[in-house]
């Protein structure tokens, strides 16, 4: 089998991997290899034909593909190796990667450092506890998006969407523009899962009703979907008997959650965070295994691709320091505490080692609040405070602090 030696292997050539590759190249890492299982770079961005990407980073409203192209173009000027159509089968603790592609067969790649950038997958109908029959006509939003945007097929004529996260809202508009009648979007929580901008431009613009605290509880149809049953849900998100309603449709689109794709990480026995479903990482986005870094959706589900790229860059800088010995992962690290109204924070740890100009944190709140301050406390002293007129769970927050003491940090939301 073909044996390759590299300095940095990046698992995944989608937004986090691409940004990591560009940054790694800028930081002078010599042999960089991107391993991408798809026939082209960009990952899920290539099927995100809608705009809204890059508002922060580029001050432009780009489509997913346009955003990805910026990094792909940048890579053309850099000596980064890219293997497409290449699937990673196994990663060992010794940093050996086994991957395959049709042209070369099995590859044994020995690397010095790895950035895990595998992204995420969608929750399926069974996982969303949608009972009933299992006919054709039930698709997750990403799969429906692929059929419509990449392959050019419509998976139905009359649809219902479960889940008001951004992908559900985006698909409501996309399907409507392609002539599919979207009867409504159902959301099990009491507040929408996606950005207000999307509610307005995807639902209101097209008079598509949004039903909160209501979920799809059963699917009907022997071979093809004929109708679904919706019901209002209580505080425990269980259906309230007597509120059931049947809705005729031939397509049920599920936008019921994203799960970080950590099968390779789990086999490495990385310390995992039950909240994020991703690896526990430190200030350099290094995992519990020295030399293994993580970035993007594999670490925690992001909503802004700009932040995903940023996480890739942080991981790349960490990888560069690991390669030149500044970072060993052997020094103790301290935990970052998620305080009041904070659901999770990434990174979960602060490390003593390595050079960091600043520390970047990504976090999500538990519940919506108005007129609050996001604060960071170090040794009970407030070292960061930023006012937010509104914070909501669907909108990830980030805070950047000047590198401080490697003492425990607490990040929380306080009412002003």
């Amino acid at each position: 089998m073909k044996k390759i030696n590299v300095d940095l292997a990046i698992i995944g050539g989608a937004p986090s991997g691409l940004a990591a590759a560009v940054e790694a190249s800028k930081k002078g890492i010599d042999k960089i290899l991107i391993l991408e299982r798809n026939i082209e770079l960009g990952g899920i961005l290539q099927q995100c034909i809608h705009d809204g990407f890059g508002l922060q980073r580029f001050q432009k409203t780009l489509s997913g593909g346009q955003y990805a192209q910026k990094f792909i173009d940048e890579l053309k000027n850099r000596s980064v190796d890219i293997k497409l159509d290449t699937m990673v089968l196994e990663i060992t603790k010794g940093k050996k990667i086994y991957a395959i592609n049709p042209q070369e067969g099995l590859l044994e790649i020995q690397t010095h450092t790895i950035i895990l950038a595998m992204g995420c997958r969608e929750r399926s109908a069974s996982q969303a506890l949608i009972f009933g029959s299992r006919p054709a006509g039930v698709l997750t939003a990403g799969t429906a998006q692929r059929y419509i945007n990449l392959e050019g097929y419509l998976p139905g004529k009359t649809a219902v969407i479960l889940g008001s996260g951004d992908i559900g809202l985006i698909m409501a508009r996309r399907m409507t523009l392609e002539g599919i009648k979207v009867k409504g979007v159902y959301e099990i929580m009491s507040s929408p899962g996606g950005l207000t901008r999307n509610i307005v431009q995807c639902l209101d613009d097209y008079d598509i009703p949004l039903h909160l605290s209501e979920s799809v509880i059963a699917v009907h149809g022997k071979d093809k979907l004929t109708h679904i049953t919706v019901a209002k849900v209580d505080e425990n998100r269980l259906p309230i008997p007597g509120t059931e309603k049947d809705i005729a449709c031939d397509l049920l689109v599920l936008a019921v959650g994203l799960i970080p794709e950590n099968e390779l990480s789990k086999r490495l026995d990385l310390l995992m965070d039950q909240k994020t479903k991703g690896p526990v990482v430190d200030s350099h986005f290094m995992t519990s295994e020295p030399g293994f870094f993580a970035a993007g959706n594999v670490m925690a589900i992001f909503d802004l691709v700009d932040y995903v790229s940023l996480s890739g860059e942080i991981a790349a800088r960490g990888a560069a320091q690991f390669l030149n010995g500044t970072l060993t992962g052997k020094e103790k690290s301290v935990f970052v505490e998620a305080g009041n109204n904070v659901n999770f924070v990434v990174p979960q740890k602060r490390t003593l080692e390595g050079k960091l100009k600043s520390e970047t944190f990504f976090l999500r709140v538990k519940s919506p609040q108005k007129n609050v301050s996001l604060k960071c406390y170090q040794d009970h002293q407030s070292i960061y405070s930023k006012k937010h007129q509104v914070v909501t769970p669907p909108e990830m927050l980030s805070c950047v602090i000047r590198s401080g003491q490697p003492t425990p940090l607490k990040i929380q939301v306080e009412v002003q």
């Binding site: 990449l150 901008r197 307005v200 209101d204 909501t392």
Partner: protein, 121 residues
């Protein structure tokens, strides 16, 4: 005096801004907490605009659909007509991101360009 309410999408505040049409044709807003919200609501009221993002059929390429995007937002009311034009379009690979697909679509003054590259397949 006519009035209409809009949900502002500029920032997560999502203010509900009411645009008031006065008898002398002038407009004012209420409910916004900043100037950007005022601007947004007035724009939505007088000339709502939207970006066009869609796909067109492509032959000879690595994939069968080319994603396209408008260079700027177009008037919302022209959206349907613009999409109708796009449904009929068939392009041939190779296509480079940025390639012009439709010039001045439906007389809006806005172009439709390829938002991605498709190599020959």
């Amino acid at each position: 005096m006519n009035q209409k309410e809009y949900v502002c999408t500029v920032c997560p505040m999502s203010c509900r801004v009411t645009v008031i049409e006065h008898s002398d044709q002038s407009l004012s807003t209420s409910g916004n907490t900043c100037k950007r919200g005022e601007k947004y609501a007035l724009s939505e009221h007088t000339n709502p605009q939207r970006m066009i993002t869609s796909t067109v059929k492509v032959t000879d390429g690595l994939i069968p659909r080319l994603s396209v995007i408008s260079t700027n937002p177009v008037p919302k009311k022209t959206l349907k007509a613009c999409l109708k034009v796009l449904y009929k379009i068939n392009v041939k690979a190779p296509i480079v991101g940025g390639d012009l697909i439709v010039k001045n679509i439906c007389n809006t003054g806005i172009d439709i360009i390829a938002s991605r590259t498709i190599k020959k397949g």
